[in-house]
Symmetry: C2
Subunit: 496 residues, 2 copies
């Protein structure tokens, strides 16, 4: 794959980037109602939208400027006596969208007598430190780091304890998924005085340096297709050659553009590379959201979408033309489940979300995750991880250089055993599980595996089609949380 294009693609591997940003409320009324995007329209999420003034730079004193960080609060089920506060450590996107896709917190609120807080990550959604100038240059982007985000969370918790009567003496528990799961885990590691524990769902905290093999991610994507039907991954593997053979002249390009129903016809080699990256990203996204029921996480999709996709890719011995026509039908499942699109838009998942800018910068600075493919253990064209090229591309794009070993210096890499009270949950279907913690490290740093789970399925709301394993995972998660809450109150009583 072309490296610069690949770089752009990497910016989208983290979910919540290629996402439709919900329309911004123009007048900020303070009470909002949303219905869950899950198949449970009966669940009503009632929250209020709040803002806190945060220092733009927690780690220096030369800049005293502040920005408004948005957060959501829901307290229907909160009890001042013996209650708890679930604190969603927002990741790279609009917090309302995350709130709507984290039904788990809503489902357990009553049982945990919990207040729910959803904190938006700086530089995403409405929490833009410099308004329209936020993404202008490296100077304005300088304060987009995980450390600053964690400091925002810490200051927000202090603020809540100070301002909400009854909150001061209650345990906070961090909850997050994906990058937000990393933040939840890191928050417990770095600020254990702020949260009694953390649920880090699908958090690839080891997808850095050489902590895990760079090929593991795409290998899991491949497995997801292969397990559905072996020909499916084989056909995808063959498709790259077919595309290459069908892009040698303009007649071929025309045919291919039409066969794939592309909105914008392919014109040159660069477009072809873009096409292949876009298709790869589609398979990756499908692997992440291969949920057991109809859902609308990255796109509106049928239940078990990979099964549906693979129905079009189950035959062997196809001609190039047949194969590519089938690839179209497979893509069409992802991009046109509603059946209303008249063509497929290659830029659809890559430019619609503000979050993509922020994550692309983060991937070029702290969040340097090496990915590679070899075309043998996976169904993709071979791609070597090359830090130098990656770094050069980052410098071209953002004017910054990545620091690939910083996250490990900061958060400990694999050496995290002295921390406590973190649940790492991972689904076996989720490609991010390759960089996750999938074995217990100690009695209080525990791993939960969901064999039929895609990307943080456990954080989604209960659904009639949930496999038993995710129900078990959620119940285990609640059990641990209750233990943390009990321990918290026991230690408070001991102090009194």
């Amino acid at each position: 794959m072309g490296c610069l294009v690949r770089l752009l693609l990497l910016a989208f591997l983290m979910p919540g980037l290629a996402i439709p940003v919900p329309p911004r409320p123009k007048a900020l009324s303070n009470l909002h109602l949303s219905t869950s995007f899950t198949s449970r329209p009966s669940i009503v999420m009632k929250y209020s939208i709040q803002y806190i003034e945060q220092k733009i730079d927690h780690f220096g004193f030369n800049n005293e400027k502040t920005f408004k960080q948005r957060y959501l609060i829901a307290d229907q089920h909160w009890r001042k006596e013996g209650g708890s506060i679930l604190f969603y450590t927002g990741n790279e996107g609009d917090i309302i969208w995350f709130c709507n896709n984290t039904g788990f917190m809503w489902d357990v609120a009553e049982e945990l007598k919990a207040m729910l807080v959803f904190a938006e990550h700086r530089y995403y959604g409405q929490s833009l430190p410099f308004g329209a100038d936020t993404f202008q240059d490296p100077r304005h982007l300088n304060f987009l780091t995980s450390e600053q985000a964690l400091a925002d969370f810490a200051e927000l918790i202090k603020h809540l304890k100070r301002t909400i009567p009854g909150a001061e003496n209650q345990p906070f528990i961090a909850v997050g998924g994906s990058y937000g799961g990393m933040l939840a885990a890191w928050f417990r590691m770095k600020y254990p005085h702020m949260v009694a524990g953390a649920l880090a769902a699908s958090a690839p905290i080891w997808q850095f340096e050489d902590l895990v093999p760079c090929g593991v991610f795409m290998k899991i994507v491949t497995m997801d297709f292969k397990r559905t039907c072996p020909n499916c991954s084989e056909n995808i593997r063959s498709s790259w050659g077919a595309i290459n053979r069908f892009t040698r002249n303009s007649t071929d390009l025309d045919w291919l553009s039409k066969a794939l129903h592309l909105c914008t016809p392919l014109k040159n080699a660069q477009d072809v590379q873009h096409l292949k990256d876009w298709i790869s990203e589609t398979w990756v996204n499908l692997a992440m959201v291969d949920y057991p029921y109809e859902s609308s996480f990255l796109q509106h999709l049928p239940a078990w979408p990979i099964k549906v996709v693979c129905q079009y890719l189950k035959n062997s011995n196809l001609s190039d033309k047949e194969l590519l026509q089938n690839i179209f039908h497979a893509l069409n499942v992802y991009y046109n489940y509603s059946g209303q699109a008249t063509c497929l838009n290659m830029s659809e998942t890559s430019t619609s979300s503000l979050g993509s800018l922020g994550w692309s910068y983060q991937a070029c600075t702290e969040m340097v995750m090496p990915f590679c493919t070899n075309g043998i253990d996976d169904m993709f064209e071979p791609y070597l991880w090359d830090l130098k090229t990656f770094s050069d591309d980052c410098f071209k794009q953002w004017g910054v250089k990545p620091r690939p070993s910083w996250i490990t210096s900061m958060y400990g890499g694999k050496d995290i055993s002295s921390h406590t009270n973190i649940i790492f949950s991972n689904g076996d279907l989720d490609p991010w599980s390759g960089g996750g913690v999938t074995r217990n490290i100690t009695d209080t740093l525990v791993a939960i595996i969901i064999p039929e789970g895609a990307h943080h399925l456990d954080l989604r709301g209960n659904n009639a089609f949930d496999p038993m394993t995710v129900l078990l995972a959620r119940s285990l998660e609640v059990k641990y949380m209750k233990q943390w809450i009990r321990d918290f109150y026991a230690s408070v009583r001991k102090k009194d």
Copy 2:
């Protein structure tokens, strides 16, 4: 006390500020020999001076500049088999001076088969990020924070593990005193993957916000004088009124200047305030360095210097003149033990050290330590802690505003029980013990009390005049360190 002057004084409460900076080696040869400043000239400290390129800003990517951080290494007693690495988390001064005053590490090196590393704190000694411009303005000072310093330590440890064969699989243990003790504790809290444990000697990690009463520090200073002889503290308490009565006109001022043998005669009210701050600081410094043997920590002093000072202040019912003449003799013990000074220089402890600039800035940003006196529980003129005035003075002096609650947000205040493997040692004579951890928090967060100890006496080299309690403290410290080392190797074996 005048607030601005008081602010300056606060900048000197932390030892290592009013210290003579050793001459800088002009040609950087790589091997240095020093003799300890303790009364053990037989101990030869042999170390090499090294430098590491550190990012000026670990927490942002817009600034890729680096600076040279200095550190010292001594490996005479280091063993690659089963050894350890004691890592001194440098505080606010020249690292060679700290090295020379931390005989404890040299004394235990053989027993722990330990390499010794002394890391200089950025913005002190030779580790100046912007050379001559380092203290120019808030922009250049922006990277002087405890978080940046801890990140330097983490990167240095990574560097040592990478570059010293045998170091990679050995336990590092953080050791520090005073502010350096706070750094040692915080380093273990924030980077437990970097150090197996920390010895935090005389580390007042609770001297922030209202974690301890603001008067506790000066109360302990007072106790130190009172316990030597009750009239001593009473005479000091009376001296402020005597000074006030002797500064009403120029004749009085002349007399007082002569009686105190001041190098620069007092001229106005501002000078008088400066005089009182300078005298207060002297009593404070004496309380910190009230060691049981002749020493040269802040000044060259006799054994138990407060006893010597109080010999001049033991009589009661003195006239103002007699009292002030005796105050001179008391001060003379501190400033002129050698007997060679012809006059007392009020600026002596406040301008000779580069470090004072750095600490004054740190006290105005993160290290906001509230101090107060009431003249009843202590022997000083009443002084109310007033954050507003303090903040205004900081802004005048440095162009920055303090964030008094940030350290608590960052490092947890009193809620640190989830951390492990930290020894907090405190001497009862040390005024900083008031803000220290003086009770066990858990089995692995332990407090060691040294009843006859002044400021981090335990970190000083063995001395024939050491009281039994400091010998016991040191031996307990070594016992804990050995346990951490054993646990480290046991956990390595478990992984293999």
